[in-house]
Symmetry: C2
Subunit: 272 residues, 2 copies
């Protein structure tokens, strides 16, 4: 088995300015393992981080906690829905470490269906009809916008290449399938192989679909639902350590490879 840290994506557009997709708790180590993301020093000895933009697709610990590890960096922008921003900054005083000086971090509110830019990349947020993290009290959830709980992203590179990023998704509508069919690459929720699998995890009594994850296998699984898509590279990401596709010797791994899917690994690069 290849060791895999948590799902973390980053891109640049040749400009040396990088965008991170989510900020996992493993971010410090992922940055250390990726020379392109190291801070540089200019002639005056001033440090510059190549990380200019961070896009958050949800407010889960695994998606957002890494932001607090960027607090020693210079100015950067965080793109998130208004609801995700409010959960993090209004309900968590720790995020005050990102406001050590005025303008250290600026927040850009993502609106569902409205294109926005990060660096020279164009993006559009898709609502995943997911739910807020379990730590958000019901009363607080009622004050927030349900369609902003978790988002997927359609990413259009300056080259025109397109990528869909769907790290947690419970169902694929016909409309979404249509949009995915036109992409060059799809990074798709590979959390669980089967619907019953999460019950192996101590403390979890729900199925994959009850947790908002389409399983890979079975009826209504992603292998089945996305089988007709031939244009895009299809890549599983966000794979839980209980998922047998991580084991390259497994039947499950062979099944996804035979169906034309790839399994993401630490350090994987995708060119658009």
């Amino acid at each position: 088995l290849k060791p895999r840290t948590q799902a973390q994506l980053a891109w640049d557009c040749g400009s040396g300015e990088w965008t991170l997709l989510n900020a996992s708790p493993d971010l410090r180590f992922q940055i250390e393992a990726t020379q392109e993301l190291w801070p540089t020093e200019d002639a005056a000895g001033k440090r510059h981080s190549p990380i200019q933009d961070v896009i958050l697709t949800g407010a889960e610990v695994d998606q957002a906690l890494g932001l607090l590890l960027l607090r020693e960096f210079h100015r950067f922008r965080v793109h998130a829905t208004r609801s995700i921003r409010r959960i993090l900054t209004e309900d968590n005083s720790l995020f005050g470490v990102l406001a050590r000086f005025p303008g250290q971090v600026t927040w850009n509110d993502i609106r569902i269906g409205e294109p926005f830019c990060a660096g020279s990349v164009r993006l559009e947020a898709l609502s995943l009809a997911s739910s807020f993290p379990g730590f958000v009290a019901q009363q607080r959830q009622d004050e927030l916008a349900a369609d902003e709980a978790a988002i997927g992203l359609l990413v259009t590179a300056p080259t025109g290449g397109t990528l869909a990023f769907l790290p947690g998704i419970g169902a694929v509508s016909d409309e979404m399938l249509d949009r995915l069919s036109a992409c060059d690459a799809i990074l798709f929720d590979g959390t669980f192989w089967s619907n019953e699998e999460p019950k192996q995890i101590p403390g979890i009594t729900r199925t994959a679909s009850q947790m908002g994850h389409m399983p890979v296998s079975g009826q209504g699984g992603s292998l089945d639902r996305l089988a007709a898509l031939h244009r895009p590279r299809k890549i599983y990401i966000h794979i839980n350590n209980t998922n047998p596709i991580l084991d390259e010797a497994s039947d499950a791994h062979r099944a996804v490879r035979d169906a034309g899917w790839e399994v993401a690994w630490d350090g994987m690069e995708i060119n658009l």
Copy 2:
């Protein structure tokens, strides 16, 4: 230079139950690098973590954030002053991930000067007359107890061996010096070599002592202040990457070694 992750201490008393001193953001990787801290499985396949107790000496990101990385573990206890607990759990909804099921995490309020136990180790908290983290609003600080902002610890092992843990300390009173002189080992704030050093760090305009850290060198520095202590092993911890003592070829490193101090490193073990 040896790479050093953030200051993190753990001990067991031969019982296989471990206590962590603070929970740094690097905790996941520190656990992975330390086989004794890996979860085990019993005959029924149930996972048990050897980590039973976590003691927090403050509410800074570097001291507390790692708690959120223990959320997939079984029950454990967190020992912290009431003020530190309130900052983390009342002002940060993310800490709700530690209450996935009733009794997952129990909090024990540490009172200054009152002994308490973690595993089979006896502890006493020393108030460091420090300040609350910068992210805690002044109005909130007024509701909390100033002497609970940050603590040091006197640790007495079942063998009778004693250790002082002072990862951030602005000054050593005569009374504290007296207590330290009776210890077997002292782990002491080695953040900065000189008082002016923090100004090298972008965004910081204060001196080491203004930040609540006794520098190592100079008048009033720890080399000077603790020079008369001959009984304890003296070990610098919590060393910032700007501190020249990290470089074994430096004059600063030689100076602390010549004065009988050790410089902590990842994986260092201390027997009491």
